[in-house]
Amino acid sequence: MNILLALITVALLGGAFGFGLSYAEKKLAIKKDEKLLELEPIMPGVNCGVCGYAGCNAYASAIAKEGAELNLCAPGGPDLVQKISEIMGMVVEVDPNERRKVAHVMCKGNVEFTAKDYVYDGPMDCNAAHLLMGGDNTCKDGCLRMGSCIKVCPTDAISKDSDGYIVIDEAKCISCEKCVAICPTHVMQMIYEDSEYSIDCNSKLPGGRVRKFCSVGCIGCKICENKYPESGCKVESYLAYFDQAVPHSQIAEAAEACPTKIIIKR
């Protein structure tokens, strides 16, 4: 008798909860936007956050519900904008020749070339090291080479080579700029992928001080700008930069003439 009572009680209780839940599921169901269902699968799914939303799904729902801009997704590029605009029924001007940007470390310094301020013995994290007088390099604008950018890269495009340099696999780079945001010295910058040359220095100090700190720094001598006006190089606050967009027929000669050899063919 007792066991029967137990059986019935548990069965009724379980049944009641089961039916209650299935009823609640129907009653409390949420209709999902049809456009959202189409948008979610075409997102790149790396959840990098460049668009300014919490992730790919959050951006998709922002497009569907709040009318967010369609072209915020850097990894997706023009192809994705095209697909989204088809789904949303909107026409968006897409420039197919838009130049892709990739991350690049504007520094060729290492233990051999760059003098140290002090011996750093703390957590291997660029931002932690930067708190102590801007890092252990004498040059406070250079790469600290502790690899905070490696940790944040959503596609594992960044790695350290055997010499301790941070290298970027440009085929894997999705232009999300997470590494640019985390880099305390701003030595990680976005450059155009099709750029043939880059000037790998980030130091805006006058030449004399750069020479003291590092043998591979831009000393602002302006040889590239003055002697080779067609090189596409410009020097501003003792730091040269190269622009692919302006005429640059003399860049190879300028690279040869650069006293610290930091105009580097990519």
Partner: protein, 197 residues
Amino acid sequence: MSYIAILLTFIFINNFILVQFLGLCPFIGVSKNSANAIGMGASVTFVTTVASVVTWAIYYFLLVPMSLQYLQTLTFILVIASLVQLLEMVIRKISPALYQALGIYLPLITTNCAVLGIAIINITNGYNVMEAFTAGFAAGAGFTLAIVLMSNIREKLDLMPVRRAFRGMPIAFISAGIMALSFMAFDKSLLTNLHLV
């Protein structure tokens, strides 16, 4: 036992994680960063509080009149699992923002032994409904305290030069052990000294 005594008991003296060793799975699994830890703590607090009251009602209004007390474990699991499912649906409908914050943690809690633990402890200690409510809240608060402390420690540990053999889980377990040791400092005499018993 006064309500303050119950609060102190379940937050410090009988802290669910560090003294009673209940709910260790989320404690280790969700303590990698403090934002997630706070979310998990809040969800557990919410569920333990509600589950305490509901299981108390089921026990005294259903099982006791039919003298089926031996079924408490079975029915409590049933109740807690359905309750959490229902809560999840209700929150999803009423407050999408809260659902976003708690969403992924709620299903994890359904079979959490901390929730079943507080339901059974309430009955064993013979609490009335208000005491059960307080104990449920305090147990959740104690869980939150432990998991938030742990997540802060682990965030620091990530940056520390730890030997490779200890990196990750092992050093987390060792830290948890030392934390548990420090919680041994709280015991019943605290209540007597504060004249709460």
